[in-house]
């Protein structure tokens, strides 16, 4: 029984084996639905090309978005935050040490006063 026990927090429990069982049941249901699908299709016609909202498919490799352009909307959306945090990451060594001294100073004030 120790091998199958759950993880108890004070306000709930988590049993990953029950989760795996639930996922297996769901996968079985998915497979049964998939088996009832259409199994005859013609290769090479429009039935096998990807659907890009009616646009033409570009050449091989041209529609792989490189890593710098992923999540562009997210980085543009919180540009105010990034414009303040990223310049703080200068590469200068003495700035790194300055931050340690600042944190020590602030913690000294906090701990001595409060």
């Amino acid at each position: 029984m120790g091998l199958l026990s759950s993880l108890y927090t004070g306000s709930g429990y988590w049993n990953p084996l029950a989760w795996v069982l639930a996922m297996a049941v769901a996968a079985a249901v998915v497979y049964l639905i998939w088996r009832r699908g259409e199994s005859s299709y013609k290769k090479g016609t429009m039935q096998t090309t990807p659907f890009i909202s009616g646009n033409a498919e570009q050449g091989k490799g041209l529609d792989h978005i490189p890593a710098s352009n992923l999540y562009w909307g997210y980085t543009e959306g919180i540009k105010g935050y990034y414009d303040r945090i990223v310049p703080l990451h200068t590469g200068i060594t003495t700035d790194y040490l300055l931050w340690i001294f600042w944190v020590t100073g602030i913690l000294l004030i906090v701990v001595m006063v409060i």
Binding site: P87, H89, T90, G91, I92, T93, T94, L98, F101
Partner: protein, 114 residues
């Protein structure tokens, strides 16, 4: 007031070391600042072991039994050795950085940033 003189010297050395680390731009001078800060802390540890009118902690032919504590002296020796190893490694890093970057100015050694 006179008995606190070593502690005042410790604080002065620490401030000089900190100022050198934060204000100087040459890497070698920053290493000297680190060395001064290490010396300040070593001095602090040794001063902790002093007892009034005490002699060196050696039992052979001891004129009295009022001896200064030997433990801080051992701590300080260990710390000096660690400081030597650290300085050697930092200086060798500075030599290699100068070979590849051509400079030892902290503001210009920032290839890795943000």
């Amino acid at each position: 007031m006179l008995w606190n003189l070593p502690y005042i010297v410790v604080v002065l050395l620490a401030i000089i070391g900190l100022a050198t680390i934060l204000l100087k731009r040459n890497l070698i001078k920053i290493f000297l600042g680190v060395s001064i800060l290490t010396s300040a802390v070593n001095l602090f540890i040794i001063v902790l072991g002093y007892r009034e009118n005490s002699i060196a902690p050696i039992y052979t032919y001891a004129p009295s039994l009022n001896m200064a504590l030997p433990t801080p002296q051992a701590l300080c020796l260990t710390s000096i050795v660690i400081g030597v190893a650290t300085s050697a490694l930092m200086l060798s890093f500075a030599v290699i950085i100068h070979r590849y970057y051509g400079t030892v100015n902290v503001d210009e050694i920032r290839e890795l940033k943000e």
